[in-house]
Amino acid sequence: MHNAKSRNASVSGLALYRRMAWASIVAQLRYPGTFFLQMTGNFVTTLLGFFGIWSLFQRFGSIGGWDLGAVAVLYGLVNVAFSVSETLGRGFEVFGGEYVRTGQFDRLLLRPRPTLLLLLGHELRLRPIGRFLQGAFVLGAGLWLAPHVSWSAVWLVPWAITGGAAMFLGVLIGQAALCFKTVEGLEVVNVLTYGGVEAGQYPLTMFSRWLRRFLTWGLPLAGVCYYPALAMLAHPDPLGMPLAFGMVSPAMGFVFLGLMIWVWRKGVASYVSSGS
């Protein structure tokens, strides 16, 4: 009978996430050969991207007043941050096609857990490890090549990476929230993810005024990568922002993520009142 009300032991959200993540890892490793090939492919393609930048330096010596070491730091930060968000946010990436279009989102709503947690648990993706390793390698090389690296880099590197990962995760969540309105033409939003990674690899000084504004106050790419990089390299900002800004600016990634979570909640509420 149902009189025993206190029957459910609570499993914390984190413990549940670990379970779901583990199940997805087991599924991904079911075919280890394929997995290893994909990861290597991911490593090589992203590394080729860096050689593109490197060859620019071979020709021009410096870009926007930055030498190769400094750009490598920027490149490494953006790619590592993005790979972390790709690893965590796969459920948001496939949300339109696999949840909204198929009606599977209803199934998620039937589970007594927050939808964001369930979608994080969709998959802990291992493939972006290729990009992660490659980015970390370039970041290390950049710090070694740079003429002067401040001691603050010790904590600024992980801080910038977490801020960046939060920002990119925010983009993925925002992109998923848009699927509540329409599942068509969302490729446009990839401008913010893949385009963001591309843009983040170059110094902010290279962009036009309005793009600089957007990349600082809209999508806070400069806050999570450019300014922290300046601070760790003790490289004064040509645009006049004080160096200390780069020590707090990664928080902008979390503000952006918070904003996108709010947008997500609005999206769920509208879905629940309109029907699929």
């Binding site: 029957r7 459910n8 032991a9 499993v11 379970r19 199934r107 709503l109 629940v272």
Partner: protein, 323 residues
């Protein structure tokens, strides 16, 4: 706790869908009234059947009761919770099976899926072990526990789905067309299981179906819905007495059917080529008597007796109640 309160209470529930016509951003919106003020209550431990033609609003009502859709107006209480205001607490106490879509994970085995649900619902390990064993016995799941959901037949999958919906001991089980597409043995297994569940666990069950046999086998209570309104809400026997008591007799002749008289309680409803359809009420004229009456006709080839399909009954019922 109010022991006497019903498991499900619905009051004047309305749902209006707004659909955009034309492009997805611009264009006019059209309103579809899916539920036009329905009210009913299901006492604890009852099996209630929800029937009605396609588009009647059954799934809409089920979605609202499940907490995945917000009504335009009206009140719903399941236990003492309002589903859409307290989704997480509400869904922890109900189990839902949608016949048309899976609740399990395609890439996991049935056993792995159940284990994941244990953590999602926070079921204690020993309770989980007991429930899993009980459900595996009752639904005959032992042989498919290690098989991935992708590989299951529809009948096997439906049994696994039902286990998945019950692993956390819900107080209310909601089934939306649970027997759709199943073969006869699987249908029988599902019906037997639901009957036992209600008897042994006292679970309240609300189901929608197109299969009149499901209703006949399971429901003590039938709620007929059409165009978003409740047309009838009565014990199954009462509905059967008024609408379902009707039988049909199809009579084939070797040549063109003759014109013939029928005893009271029977009437000719259709004549098509070599066959004639007769509708009769077995309380007025028992089938053997009717067959004996027709046996005297010349050129008789074959006789088939049956019940009208649910769609036909509902359509008739609806026509009777529309005005």
């Amino acid at each position: 706790m109010r022991i006497a309160s019903p498991a499900i209470e619905v009051e004047n529930l309305r749902k209006i869908y707004r659909v955009r016509e034309g492009g997805s951003w611009r264009g006019r919106t059209r309103e579809i009234v899916a539920l036009d003020g329905i009210s009913f209550a299901v006492p604890r431990g009852q099996i209630a059947g929800f029937i009605g033609p396609n588009g009647a609003g059954k799934s809409t009502a089920i979605k609202i009761l499940s907490g995945i859709l917000r009504p335009s107006s009206g009140l719903v209480r399941v236990g003492d919770l309002i589903p859409w205001e307290n989704r997480i607490a509400h869904v922890a106490r109900i189990g839902v099976v949608f016949g048309q879509r899976t609740q399990l994970w395609w890439d996991l085995s049935v056993g792995e899926g159940l284990a994941l649900l244990r953590d999602i619902y926070g079921v204690e390990p020993d309770r989980f072990a007991r429930n899993r064993a009980r459900l595996a016995d009752a639904l005959d799941l032992h042989a498919i526990m290690d098989q991935s959901v992708r590989q299951l037949s529809l009948g096997q999958r439906m049994r696994a789905e039902i286990a998945a919906a019950l692993i956390h001991d819900p107080e209310v089980l909601i089934l939306d067309e649970p027997t759709i597409g199943l073969d006869a043995p699987s249908k029988l297994a599902v019906r037997a299981f639901v009957r036992d569940l209600r008897r042994e666990q006292g679970t309240t069950v609300l189901l929608t179906t197109h299969d009149m046999h499901d209703i006949e086998a399971l429901a003590e209570r039938v709620i007929v819905i059409g165009h978003g309104r409740i047309l009838a809400d009565s014990p199954f026997e009462a509905l059967r007495a008024t609408t379902l008591s009707e039988r049909r007799l199809e009579v084939d002749f070797i040549g063109t059917p003759p014109v013939f008289d029928l005893p009271p309680g029977a009437k000719e409803t259709e004549r098509d080529g070599r066959s004639v359809t007769i509708t009769f009420d077995p309380r007025q004229i028992p089938a053997p008597a009717l067959v004996a009456h027709l046996g005297a006709l010349a050129g008789l080839d074959d006789l088939r007796i049956g019940r009208p399909a649910i769609e036909e009954i509902i359509t008739r019922f609806y026509a009777d109640h529309a005005s």
